[in-house]
Symmetry: C2
């Protein structure tokens, strides 16, 4: 047998308290949570089952699989309909379910378990909100991922061999990442996003629009997975952008660096420096309380002044954001986008990726993951930012 709760008691209560504070502000009587990422947040492990959180009273962990968990509040079930046997008569009037993630059929099944519940509220934004402000323990795990990821990035120039394709270099980066301890999965909220552990874009392939809502595109190797590398051979004058999954601890950092064989044309060098400048400008300006959209506007205005707008966040197809929260999943809050209503808070962890696509060269720019502290942004991904020469 193994203890279900892998979080320290104090850590569990810190997270639970924050979730309950938000429940009270929305007059929600109980939450029923089934999403892997949210279960991991609440317990420190993943199981198949449901976490039932009443606004007061003990939390109940309804487990279907694995079979070997034990601890306070652990109740085994074969099907969700059994949970009312445990919850008893004290059923919630307002019940929060993860409406933005959970399938319609599954929500219907949950609703039928609580026929007397007067209202279903949406627990998805509530959990996204709570998870956006990381605890010191979560920050430590993200920090560790950043240090390990940095180590991998420093080795990338040495993985290059003349004549390599984008795929061949990507495979060596993925191998190096895995041997360094990268868990190899990019957790993304929602069904519609699909991505590799490493995403390598060489030359004009970066200008191929992708269906996915990522900052950069790429044709991919097959129409069934139209994103990322497409077999382009790395040649002089082409940029090599590496955007690699930094999930070493269950908590990710997101980081991009640009490499090149020989030197790139002046326009590409200017755009790359502009990306570094934007990160520095935002890092100097952002504080708890800063509006996310102001950071986007700051970047956009600077790009216009530099005359680089045509290439900013894509060329044939543009992404609608320059940054996003990161943690258990790669698409957390806050979102740094023109219509974002998010406001930066202490403990947010954000990835900033002001990138450019220069026709004939490829993608340039950087991405760093930052912690929002009381005094400003702290960079957690500290590999060299300049364009790095492949040897």
């Amino acid at each position: 047998m193994a203890q279900l709760l892998l979080l320290q008691e104090q850590e569990f209560h810190t997270r639970l308290q924050e979730v309950r504070r938000l429940m009270e502000s929305q007059s929600t009587d109980a939450l029923l949570i089934s999403d892997n990422a949210n279960i991991y947040y609440l317990t420190g492990r993943v199981f198949t089952g449901l976490v039932y959180i009443p606004v007061s009273g003990p939390v109940i962990f309804f487990v279907r699989r694995p079979v070997n968990l034990t601890g306070d509040g652990v109740v085994y079930i074969r099907k969700p309909e059994q949970i009312t046997e445990t919850i008893g008569l004290n059923l919630p009037a307002r019940l929060g379910l993860e409406l933005d993630i959970t399938a319609y059929s599954t929500i219907g099944r949950f609703k039928a378990i609580f026929p007397d519940t007067t209202e279903i509220t949406n627990a998805s934004p509530l959990l996204r909100d709570a998870r956006s402000r990381k605890t010191p323990m979560e920050i430590d795990m993200i920090r560790t991922s950043g240090i390990k990821q940095e180590r991998v990035y420093r080795r990338i120039p040495h993985l290059y061999r003349p004549g390599m394709t984008d795929l061949e270099l990507q495979v060596e980066i993925e191998r190096t990442s895995r041997l360094e301890g990268c868990l190899g999965q990019f957790r993304i909220s929602g069904d519609s996003m699909e991505l590799y552990m490493a995403n390598l874009l060489v030359g004009d392939n970066a200008d191929t629009p992708t269906p996915y809502d990522f900052a950069m595109g790429g044709e991919g190797l097959d129409p069934s997975l139209p994103v990322g590398c497409n077999g382009t051979i790395i040649r002089e004058g082409l940029s090599v952008m590496a955007d690699v999954n930094g999930n070493y601890t269950g908590y990710m950092t997101d980081m991009t660096r640009t490499f090149a064989l020989g030197s790139l044309k002046p326009l590409a060098l200017k755009a790359h420096q502009c990306s570094i400048d934007i990160c520095d400008m935002i890092a100097a300006k952002a504080l708890p309380g800063t509006k996310a959209k102001e950071l986007y506007e700051l970047a956009e205005q600077y790009v216009r002044e530099q005359g680089l707008h045509e290439y900013f966040m894509g060329h044939k197809q543009k992404a609608g954001f320059i940054g996003h929260g990161v943690g258990i999943e790669i698409n957390e809050l806050p979102v740094i986008a023109p219509r974002s209503r998010d406001i930066l808070a202490e403990g947010n962890v954000i990835a900033l990726e002001p990138k450019f696509v220069i026709p004939g060269t490829g993608a340039v720019g950087i991405e760093n993951t930052y912690l929002v502290t009381a005094t400003g942004l702290e960079c957690l991904t500290n590999a060299p930012q300049q364009i790095i020469t492949l040897e």
Copy 2:
């Protein structure tokens, strides 16, 4: 610009006709499809948007991203609410949506677009049903994946180096697979399943229960992803089970082989032979029209006769199935399980994985992918089935 429809005209019409036949049998007037796997099935590519399929009349492809698609029926939208401008007044009374996959909030948004629709039907089982009977073109793609996967499996013994951990060997298998053309993604329907490109189980780690509904478990490297290898060193007397993603074409084969350093104990050898025997027995018996559950019962009865039931499909935790459909996703129809109502049909592609966990040794057994033909099962994964010695 690029043509949206990557399927040949004839292939598109074959699939569309099958979907419409099922729509008519359920009196559904139109389908609105947004899932990546279903969009890929219907068009041969993935895009962000919606496919609108009326029971008669032209299919409309509402595209949000990428920006460069063209062709008959292609209409660009920024948001789903715009689709009625194109569909016009001929709105469906009974509309099919993917209720088993699509988030509750998204379905709510779709329903609001069709306020006069009298009934929402569930398009998920309909598409699963259609996709379970593969066309000759799909079968060719699966066949190609099988041949490439076989090539990778034959190289696994040569990837082993003394002292390797499960992770280290897994990383080399993943690298080899990717260089052979494996797309590196395991498409799984639903949010709750997470898995690696390759899953390597060495020794007693195979007996660690996992939260995921896979045939075998494994502790994993971190509580955030509790499945697969855990850092066990490969030693004499331990089995090494490799279950690797065979997605080379957008259509997968699923295959498992067991390796060992030196020889395994007699009980493990007996169980491994039992797994091969079960595959052979089922391959000799299964025909279009055979009930899936009868194949499960056949396997279970044979296992009991052999006195191996304690170890069958897991030891501490057991999986509830011995086989599953495979194609664009790894969990397609039919399901070979005790309560399955599925009946085998010509064109089904099924992975059979009667496996055992032997305490002290690890997981043994095989997995093959078979095509259901008019005259019986044809194996598409033809690497040697015996336990293979690591060199």
